[in-house]
């Protein structure tokens, strides 16, 4: 699964929100094709970590490298980098004034300057892949949460990204819709997509992740295989966290 140079490298990354040290000397590397699941209590900095990788959150010190290049600070180079990293948000953030198909084709047409016909063809194929091809002409507000999140995944995939970031993709969903989104993510992982997934879905972490990162208080506390982490957590923080979420 991991070949050659790592795709994403964070080295001694620090970030403060005012006095709050939200990322505390975090170093991490993610190989090509690797699926890394980030878990931890709320406020542990896991979402910030995920958002720092495409610089939606700027960092205060340290370096982040994507595909061998340090993250550009602003402007066109940063926009180009972002176009190569797909991002899926907790609250979907589909463009409310565009149809589902337009949501999926807008990036390829406007950012990649692809021909509308080609973008449309690939967009429809992606919507079919995530199981909502029949919703292509509807507006986001007309879809269920699970359908919206699958559309958001298709929108990110339409850019043919080198990696996908998922920031709690199932946390805003009704329980019966979580499965359909995780199924899409699992199939992506199987196809070899590089993924960083912030989630509370321990089932997904167990069966789809290559590595589990456990964060607490802005620090990266554990970095292990799922089997090792869930059966044999080393730190007290991780033991405590797992005992709270796995007992019921």
């Amino acid at each position: 699964m991991t070949t050659g140079e790592p795709l994403i490298v964070l080295d001694a990354v620090n970030k403060w929100f005012g006095p709050l040290h939200v990322l505390d000397d975090v170093s991490l590397s993610v190989g090509r094709g690797e699926v890394v699941v980030v878990i931890g209590p709320s406020g542990s900095g896991k979402s910030t970590l995920c958002r720092a990788i495409n610089r939606l959150e700027p960092i205060n010190s340290g370096t982040i490298t994507f595909d061998g290049q340090p993250l550009p600070a602003e402007g066109k180079p940063l926009a180009r980098l972002r176009s190569e990293v797909g991002m899926v948000f907790q609250s979907f953030n589909l463009f409310a004034h565009k149809t589902i198909l337009e949501n999926v084709t807008l990036g390829p047409i406007k950012v990649r300057k692809e021909k509308p016909a080609a973008a449309r063809e690939r967009g429809l194929a992606l919507l079919d892949r995530v199981g909502i091809a029949n919703q292509a002409d509807k507006f986001p507000a007309q879809l269920s949460g699970g359908q919206q999140q699958r559309a958001a995944i298709a929108r990110a995939l339409a850019m043919q990204p080198k990696a996908m970031l998922f920031d709690e993709p199932t946390s805003a969903l009704d329980p019966e819709m979580v499965g359909e989104v995780l199924d899409v993510m699992t199939s992506l992982a199987r196809d070899g997509m590089t993924m960083v997934v912030v989630t509370h879905e321990m089932g997904f972490a167990r069966h789809a992740a290559n590595r589990v990162i456990f964060m607490a208080d802005g620090r990266l506390v554990e970095d292990a295989s799922p089997a090792e982490f869930f059966e044999n957590p080393r730190s007290e923080r991780a033991k405590d966290f797992l005992s709270k979420i796995l007992t019921h």
Binding site: N54, A79, M87, F89, N93, A96, H97, L106, V111, A152
Partner: protein
Amino acid sequence: MGEFFRVLTDNGQLFVDGFTNTVKLFLIAAVGSLVLGTLLGAMRVSPVPALRAFGATYVNLVRNTPLTLVFAFLVFAVPKLDVNIDYFASAAIALTVYTSAFVCEVIRSGVNTVAAGQAEAARALGMTFAQVLTLIVLPQALRAMVPPMMSVFIAMLKNTTIAAGFSVLEAGAIPAYMAERGEPQFAVLLWITIGFLILILPLVALQRFLERKWRVAR
């Protein structure tokens, strides 16, 4: 009653000339302030601190200055710098400069009604600031901007009458001419009022039309 209509028919050309200039001033300043105000609004929401500061300074400086003073600057002060502009152009520029500050704030408040996640998702796709604004944020902000924008333009249409004090023959200048001709002021002022009401009606209709057209599901 006959006297009331006679005031209009006897002085028809003056009314036509006056209101024509009012409409011209309005249209030029409306287009100008829409362009300049949108640029200022974009500056105020941009990621560049220097542009944000410029936009904020412009708004605070111009919005808090009496319009008569802005006119006076352009008509009396600017020619002292050996810049030759006629009264009508000065009036159009003064109205544009002044109204832009208000348009900017309408644009900014419209932008603020769009959820932050929309712009974030657009940036995550690799869109530039201009693309985020024009493709994602402004189209969704339009509906919220229509009612306050119309108020700004209606106020601007009425503000054109200040140009009368600076040698521009527009609707606000009609009473002075009529006084010279010995016409009854009551009738004159009523006709001017009716003229403005008629001019403002299309703006109200436009507002209704746009609000309906840009209704979106959220």
